[in-house]
Symmetry: C5
């Protein structure tokens, strides 16, 4: 099961802005991919160090520097050469960040969580850092998720909107991919909830409760990842950063609506799961009721006659009933009558 | 049972603004109805393509273009010729939208949910898109619900208010119809809750719990559909769009009040249903208590005397009581006394 | 039991502003009472139609037109002659309104709920509409409640404050009466909750749970009626309408405080009732525990010895114990010892 | 037990501003104490009527008029001579007020609740009214609580801060005393909660649940009294009244912090008590589980062997086992084996 | 267990601003450490009284006065010589403060809680007071926690950022250390919750519930300490104090993000613990169900046959079955058939 908190303690006591990686290491190496494009031209290469990107920034057009792997403090520290504040570098390396947006004037820093379906029905969470400058975008992801392949594909097309737009549109595309991924994760989660719901109605087994609990915890994790994004994009839309041009703002509003839709859906999941837990508990209590009624019926029907039979199993010498020829059949009648009478009485009193 | 989320995943990775239909197909074809009216004149026709509507827009008067069927991406894409943003076209086709209002300056886009009672006691949800321009309204619904027939009837009347008013009043009428439908759905839901309440008081059966759960989930779905409309219309009223004239604003306020009334009622339903679940659970526990008391009464009355009878059913050679002529009647007395005494004792201790 | 929603469906599809009565009919006829007063003069009469009131409005002084009965669409529709918007007339007739205040510039419209103790311990809800103009007040109530008799009595007194004040003070007086009524209803509800609390402590009976549930639902209804009044009067106080003079504002603040007090008290009732339900449930579980312990004590004490007795009731030919003269007393000792030992063991383990 | 609401109904129908006492009478007479002080001078006397205070107000220095007893409508009505609005007088007499602050320009009116530990572990609530004028303070308490004795003692000291400060500082001192009292009440309540917590852990008795419920209700009452004070003092601090000088504002901020601290603590108490109730309920269910397991163990071990013994207690003529010399010991083995086997089986299945 | 509230009552009735220590005494003596630094110079000494610090304040550079021990009212009262308001001194001594920030213009006062893992799995809470002046920082902690040793170490380094920055950066460093400590405490708490979660899944023991309750209460305490810090730092960031320079503001935003992250994590812990309690309760109920089913199976299988055996154990003279050679085997068949039949019937009815 996913641990609740990442190890942050190794950073305690270090001066602010010290670049230290926090979190698991999700890729072997830190790969740096550079894409430079203008209206007519496109260049794409793998680079070894951040320094190689600097000449591109001086040229017209948009530069996109994408790093896969967030653990290599040495390499990522060089991002300072783009003018980034040490606290930004620190945050890129610390993968236990809360989703946030920070405008530093010359550039803006956005950190958010990408979700994907992992193995064993657990949702994988990966941290994405996006730095948006005037004419460049730096993005850092923890491992090779391939989530942004479709963005690269878009840039490839000569007449795509992104080729005519600024760095802000590119950043929007990355953001949009992340939010689109939320829908995919939600879709699968929704399917699992629906399946559990069906199971609950048709007849819950011993694993139902555990699965219900597991899904609730997944929803909680989801919510914790997505909820702050709502404020972040909402704030982005309201207090317009100078880095975001008006024609991109329409797209931001769209991704904001998607985020609210995601948040809403998560809340609905939570309520549905709560309702299902209550239904499960109520059904459980009902079944208990039924079983206890069985016990009571048996006790009602058999224990009193057994008492009578025991009485006439006693070995007293002077038991006049024993000698009577009617003793046996009358006792049978008494026993049957007693059982039936009690059943009838309890029925009438609506106890059964 | 209604699935929790529509399939959005087929859209993942496509560039923003790609028109793709999401959701079920609710009508065979996409029908386009055009209504053009001025103070004195009225024209009404079925058109084959959006292009046929363009000449009407150039003429004075109001043009209403109503599309039934939201799945035909090819046809609806042509709405771009009215100057709509690709994101608007995308949203019209995606029937998994959250209720929202977007002001694009030249026109405004409102998407909301229409509810109606479906078969099998489930509430049907249909998406309505309304585009309000200076002198036109475009509305798109998913299937032939007939909800706007009364609006067409109003336009037919020569001296109706709508004939003297602008496109904003027409859009208001459509909105008003949708909200009126909410009341009808609520009314039926309320009746079902009241009936369940009666059933709960008179004596709940095994299906009561399931029905209770079902109604709660319906209420949840309802709330999810209606809740955002509250903010949307509230925002509409506050930050007046230039497309809405002051004389129409009074009507918007009215429909806003209705929406709040709907939201309030849904909240009340939720609380009533929660209270009913609690009552159900408490009654259930009470019944369990009663049944277990029956068990205890029986055990109290019969088990100890049975023990005594068993004792004198033993076959020991030397059991002096067995030979005594008083043995049998005294044993009877002892058994009766023991049962009665225990009952009395537990009564006194208030255990029964 | 009160139904959750009034029939609104008969209005669906009608053009906005159509005057249709919604709700029950609470009085036979619609009675119109007119009171006209100036500093020195007072005139009071029953009128047959709204038109008769028009001359009074042209004269100096304040005119109060009070209608008892909200079902007579024909008659009340004539209020349009005072310049009221059709939507206001529609709202006066629709007794399923949510409490609201609307400022139309020339006049303001306030609709709220009056509560009173009805028969069968249910709270009666009646809708009150108040229209405040420059020099007139129109008030409409559903039935002859007599709630405003004390206001008429006040006007009767020559030197009362109301005679020196404007129409706004008269409207305030009506509002104040309605809010005062809330306290009376709350007082009775509080007494019933206190009585139930006492019953809960002294020993709950089978009707306790039902009464608890009933009171919770009453509180819910109350809350739904009063809650919006809080915002309404609060808003009234903040964004001063031109119709309300500063010297009346102090009184409005007072009635606002009362409303908050009512709302607070309702919330307290809700929490008290929730606490009582929890106490009831916990006590119930405790009693169940006690009863089951009785069962266990009996089983512990009697079932094992009964087994031993049964053993020596077997009819095997070769049972050496049976022939021993010590067999019987030793068996008794064994049986007593077994029962006592088990009891002691369970006691020690704190299972009993 | 404290009743939930005071009798307000006797006021219904009276014109606004009618001085009527609502609440219990807490002191025999209404005592009026007057303190007048300047930097160098101090005068203190008991007065018979409000009129005697008027000359002091005309002199330089600060006048403090303190009334003990809020039931004497006749006497307190004379406060009008200080220029108080009739609604203020009405509110002073009505001891069922919600905490509030009202600025009337010339003077301000603050009403709040003083708490103290009463007899029988119930918290006593008393209403304090404070009127702050330019150079005077009027305070009214319901009974002789002695809460303000320390303020009088402070004034006695020639060089105390209060002697150099204005009426606002005196009002602050009174307010501060009331809030200080909250801490004392909270302290005792906290001790009782801690004691109950210990009792819960060491072993709850039958009175635990009742005490838990009682403490929750006390906390609810507390919260209802203190909560509004938070907004009141917060508002006081924000929108500075002209009656409060900047140097006093620092002290108000201090008392505001205390109030928030009180509110926070009450919320913590509420959560702690909720957690304790849940713990109590869970422990209760656990104990039930244990007891039922005892029942099951006994039934498992003894009922099947008893059945076997009963079989061989039958009196059929042809029962070959009875004549076998091995019959008896084999039956014993069978009975022991059956009991042990079932126990083992259930253990293995983890049912026990 | 930690008591809920500290003894504040000894302060009741004292004039505001009286320096009285409230809380436990956590160190033997009050130690005063003075650090004075400029870009090139650094001086560090232990001082005996606040007065010794005054000359340093007159010199250029930053002075940091750190007091360990908050109980010595005499000594700490002398802080007044730095121009601190008596209320600030009072608050430093009262260790039962709520986290708050107060701007006094010349200086600002921040009080917050430092958390650390204490013995016996309980979180230790210590109060930290920070006074930020133009060129000095005064910090007071209750005991020798050593939490700020790393800050001293930073100052030691000649080229550290802090040596080039103002007093505000030093104050930030102290604040940052406190918030970093929260993460360490959270990390350990998270580990304990995870361990409990594992225990809950693998099989809860009797101590699970108590531990669950303990962790919930710890989380509650944590939340109470940290929650107000969120507003405090948030407010600090928004309404910039003149004491905080723009270049430090970036760092404050960083520590604000950390605080929000802490608050979020605590909320998540709360929800996780609630979910675990619910899972525990549901599993408990399920186990009860299982055990009761065992009881029912046994009763079903053995009680009815036992009744039959008892019947033929009766000693009536005229029992024809007893003499029949088929009596015994037929009875066996009947008994087996009865048990099996009932089992089958209940299975079919899904009662078992």
């Amino acid at each position: 099961m996913r641990r609740l908190l990442k190890k942050r303690s190794r950073k305690a006591g270090l001066p602010p802005g010290t670049p230290v990686h926090i979190g698991e290491r999700r890729s072997e190496t830190t790969e740096l991919r550079l894409v430079h494009y203008e209206d007519g031209a496109l260049e794409r290469r793998q680079i070894a160090a951040v320094e190689e990107a600097l000449p591109y920034l001086a040229r017209p057009g948009i530069t996109w520097l994408h790093a896969v792997g967030a653990h290599d403090a040495e390499r990522l520290k060089r991002l300072e050469q783009l003018g980034l504040h040490p606290l930004v570098i620190e945050d890129i390396l610390n993968t236990d960040q809360r989703t946030k947006f920070e405008d530093y004037g010359e550039y803006a820093y956005l950190v958010l969580k990408m979700l994907s379906d992992g193995t064993e029905d657990a949702i994988e969470i990966e941290q994405i850092s996006i730095v948006l400058g005037k004419n460049y975008v730096v993005s850092v992801e923890e491992g090779p998720s391939g989530a942004f392949a479709s963005v690269e594909a878009l840039i490839d097309k000569d007449r795509a909107r992104v080729r005519q737009s600024g760095a802000d549109y590119l950043a929007y595309l990355l953001l949009d991919r992340v939010v689109d991924n939320y829908f995919i994760v939600l879709e699968r989660l929704g399917e699992r909830i629906d399946a559990l719901q069906d199971e609950l109605v048709s007849g819950p087994g011993p694993q139902t409760l555990r699965l219900l609990h597991h899904l609730r915890r997944e929803t909680l994790v989801l919510r914790r990842s997505v909820w702050p994004l709502r404020e972040v994009i909402g704030g982005l839309e309201r207090e317009r950063s100078a880095l975001i041009r008006p024609e991109t703002a329409v797209y931001l509003r769209d991704v904001y609506d998607h985020t609210i839709h995601v948040v809403d859906t998560i809340e609905t999941f939570r309520e549905v799961l709560s309702g299902m837990l209550e239904l499960y508990m109520s059904s459980s209590t009902n079944r208990l009721n039924e079983v206890i009624k069985v016990l009571t019926v048996i006790a009602t029907v058999f224990i009193p006659p057994t008492f009578i039979a025991s009485v006439y199993g006693m070995n007293f010498r002077h038991m006049p009933e024993l000698d009577s020829p009617w003793g046996y059949p009358v006792t049978w009648l008494a026993m049957l009558g007693l059982g039936a009478g009690m059943l009838a009485y309890f029925r009438k009193k609506r106890w059964l």
